[in-house]
Symmetry: C2
Subunit: 207 residues, 2 copies
Amino acid sequence: MAGSVVPATVAVGPADKSPRTERGRKTQRALLDAAAAEFGERGFHESSVVSITARAGVALGTFYTYFESKDVLFRALVRDMSDQVRDRVAPVLAEPGDAIAREGAALGAFLGFAREHKEIYRIIDEAEFVAPDEWHRHYERTAQRIVERLREGEARGEVFGPIDEVHGWALMGMNVFLGLRFGVQDCERPLNEVADIANALIRNGLA
Amino acid sequence: MAGSVVPATVAVGPADKSPRTERGRKTQRALLDAAAAEFGERGFHESSVVSITARAGVALGTFYTYFESKDVLFRALVRDMSDQVRDRVAPVLAEPGDAIAREGAALGAFLGFAREHKEIYRIIDEAEFVAPDEWHRHYERTAQRIVERLREGEARGEVFGPIDEVHGWALMGMNVFLGLRFGVQDCERPLNEVADIANALIRNGLA
DNA sequence: CTGAAAGTTGAACCGAGTTTCAACTTGGAA
DNA sequence: TTCCAAGTTGAAACTCGGTTCAACTTTCAG
């Protein structure tokens, strides 16, 4: 899991803990991957630095060579997951189709990501308590992006306005819960089926 | 806050810790109210039994007269919050209108509840990590109830079917995130405005 | 080959918070 | 008034896990 969770460099705060050699970079990467897996499986509070270092195959003290604290590591991970989702969804938005179809494609891409990275829910959800600012930032930006896309569609006459912040949060909430139900919990149901039903809902409503 | 959080009796597990006198019931109630407030403000892990008993105005040891552990108390609270939401939404569902209008009324009632009980989000969200079974039960039932209501509407020809589990989770996700944004975070915006926009979305879609 | 910088190690320190428990208080029934 | 079950108390035992640090190893430039 999560072989690509690690960015080239990681923000570590004032005291520079960045690795200076290739060897160091590998160790830091092992710690980040181990942490993503561990937090995903057990949650922040159940994961100990001991268990993370054990999973990474390094000694306890090594952790503090690269991270100021368990907290700082978690924040770096939240930021990274948030960026990964964005990067995964971005390309499908370039595909042809009207604004609503593109939201459907975005949902499909997100569901796929959730199936591959089930740890994302535990990490981002738990950020509400462990790193509230990163958590807030993530949802604020995601909703904002949806609103912007819908407004572009509105300008093109593809969606019926006026588009409001409410629409952004409504669609985001829908996507998040569908990701939870059909990405993380139920791994069997075909994702395009789910995305199609949801897309029909936001296109035509239920009436 | 949370004067009505306390059920008449609380499940406490095998060893019977139920109070036997009026005095005991009052103390247990004080502990439950204090815990709801404390968990709502600081979250489960930041709330200590010391802080809860201090807020309730009783000694540390008294806590264990009524609860086997901090964990058991939290579970009781989650169950209670879940029931409170249900009880708050139920009455407005009896009002006249088609199935979709009733979903709008339900959302309105839920948003109102969220404004009055901001602690509900922290408590139910954190249950994902502290009491996963209660958390699962809560969302499973909520989605199920939405699906049932929509299917009734479908039978009456008020909504366009076929209604799927996807619809239940989609609407629930929408409601939850709107409650977060406009119930807990933004307390200014008129709730019926929010509910109306969301209801128009699920009634007619965006196209 | 050599020295120094980078990296690694894990026992020990430390604070925090849950839970226990034996002594003490309260309130009401007989 | 007496007695006892129910309730209360808070110091202390206990557990747990984050963080520190001084000794040790590896790597590599000169």
